[in-house]
């Protein structure tokens, strides 16, 4: 039987270690007292040591982790809520800033409009003044021109009359005649225009 030891020593030991008293088949399914005692000792060690030292430590570790995870989750929830509040505040501030900016722009626009209107009004006023002054100047120029024309026409008329009547007439008489003529002409002009 020793050959078995070459590969399967466990079988060899079993074969060589067989008790001299041949056990019956029933012994296979009945607990042997010595094995029962050592089995009980072994399991008692397992039961005692694991329940006294191993399981409580593992439970502690698991509970600590659960607590930590729970704490982390709650902290995360708190942070999330705070972040949301912060976000809302920022959005509110942003909205306020936008309103403020719009208000400022609107004010600026209104001021610009006002300035534009003022400038236009001033320009119009100046333009009117210039126009008025120009009209007055034209009127004065016209009056002066008329005066000059009148004088020139009188002179030319006298010269013409002298040529026609062949004699000179004195200056005051000439002047009187011309004025009378002009009045007539003016009267004819007014009469025809009427």
């Amino acid at each position: 039987m020793g050959y078995l030891a070459t590969i399967f020593w466990f079988v060899a030991e079993e074969v060589e270690g067989t008790s001299s008293e041949e056990p019956s088949g029933l012994d296979l399914i009945l607990p042997a007292i010595d094995e029962l005692i050592w089995g009980a000792v072994a399991f008692s060690i397992v039961l005692f040591v694991l329940n006294k030292f191993a399981w409580p430590k593992l439970r502690e570790s698991i509970e600590a982790r659960e607590k930590q995870i729970q704490g982390d989750l709650e902290a995360a929830e708190r942070s999330k809520n705070e972040a949301e509040q912060e976000k809302r505040r920022y959005q509110q501030q942003l909205a306020d800033s936008r309103g403020e900016a719009n208000r400022i722009v609107e004010e600026a626009r209104q001021q610009a409009e006002q300035v534009r209107k003022d400038i236009i009004a001033k320009a119009q006023a100046e333009a009117e003044q210039i126009t008025t002054r120009a009209q007055e100047s034209i009127a004065a120029e016209r009056a002066s021109t008329m005066q000059e024309l009148q004088s020139t026409v009188a002179t030319m008329s006298i010269q013409l009359a002298e040529k026609v009547v062949g004699r000179s007439i004195d200056a005051s008489a000439q002047k009187e005649m011309v004025d009378a003529y002009i009045r007539d002409v003016a009267g004819m002009g007014n009469g025809s225009s009427n």
Binding site: I7, F8, E14, T18, P23, P31, V41, A42, I62
Partner: protein, 284 residues
């Protein structure tokens, strides 16, 4: 060709004492392996539990996962929230059986102390004591016996037949099946592995010749059986612990009272009563 293969079944299971010969506490190989299994089990979990870390790694993580598996998936799942109280015992049973069973496939040892009756017997009797004591404490002696022997919702005449069956089933068959199931599975595994490895040895070493290919076949079968045995050693530890938990659950909640489980937990798709026959079927 007739093979001269000698195999006496007694050679596989009976051992001469190594220490304390002639006393009732003789220490033979079974005793030593029982102590070895206990030492491995205790050593592993003490080592795992000693590793303090918020997120454990390696042995610490494995120890914690294994303990949690028994506590949550067996004790609490089967017994309910109260099951946490029994998790210590159930986990000790589970891992002691597991470490003992694993020796069956550990190279150099190839023998599980659970393939001898002592440990299955002891654990089954312990479970029997526990579930009966729990039943009496929780329901009172009268209530426990009444609930067990006279299940409600049955016509009175049927009790004539049912009560002896229930008595036999709960107080005799339960511990008996627990111990025999574990013993038989491990014993059968041991015998099968030995036979196939002996044949392999016979064909490939002792009588090498034209039958050598047969040795390859038996080697392949032995390898497959080894893998099957890996499954069996875990399954048997699980089944023993699971059934112990079922029996304790019944003692805690009364006969047939499986509604203690909260149905909002998705893991509880089937009440434990529905799963027990399946487990007992697998065990056979």
């Amino acid at each position: 060709m007739v093979l001269a293969l000698e195999l006496d079944i007694n050679h596989l299971f009976f051992w001469d004492p190594l220490l304390f010969e002639g006393t009732p506490y003789e220490l033979n190989r079974v005793g030593i392996l029982s102590l070895l299994a206990a030492a491995l089990c205790v050593g592993f979990f003490l080592y795992g539990a000693a590793k303090k870390a918020l997120v454990p790694k390696g042995a610490g993580n494995l120890a914690e996962t294994l303990y949690l598996f028994v506590r949550n998936n067996i004790a609490i799942d089967v017994i309910g929230p109260e099951g946490a109280k029994y998790a210590g015992y159930l986990a000790s049973v589970f891992f002691f059986i597991l470490f003992s069973n694993v020796l069956a496939i550990l190279p150099g040892i190839h023998f599980a102390p659970t393939s001898r009756m002592a440990i299955p017997f002891m654990l089954a009797i312990l479970t029997w004591i526990i579930f009966n004591v729990v039943g009496v404490i929780k329901q009172g002696l009268g209530g426990y016996l009444k609930g067990t022997l006279f299940p409600p919702g049955v016509p009175k005449a049927v009790y004539i037949l049912l009560t002896p069956i229930e008595f036999f089933s709960v107080f005799v068959v339960r511990p008996l099946t627990l111990m025999v199931r574990l013993l038989a599975n491990l014993m059968a595994g041991h015998v099968l592995l030995t036979i196939f490895f002996l044949f392999t040895h016979e064909f490939l070493v002792t009588n090498i010749g034209p039958t050598a290919p047969l040795g390859l076949v038996t080697l392949a079968v032995a390898t497959a059986l080894m893998m099957l045995e890996m499954l069996v050693v875990v399954m048997q530890a699980y089944i023993f612990t699971m059934l112990s938990a079922f029996y304790i659950a019944e003692a805690v909640h009364g006969h047939g009272a499986e509604d203690h489980l909260t149905h909002d937990e998705p893991a509880h798709e089937t009440p434990h009563e529905d799963r027990r026959p399946q487990l007992e079927g697998v065990a056979a």
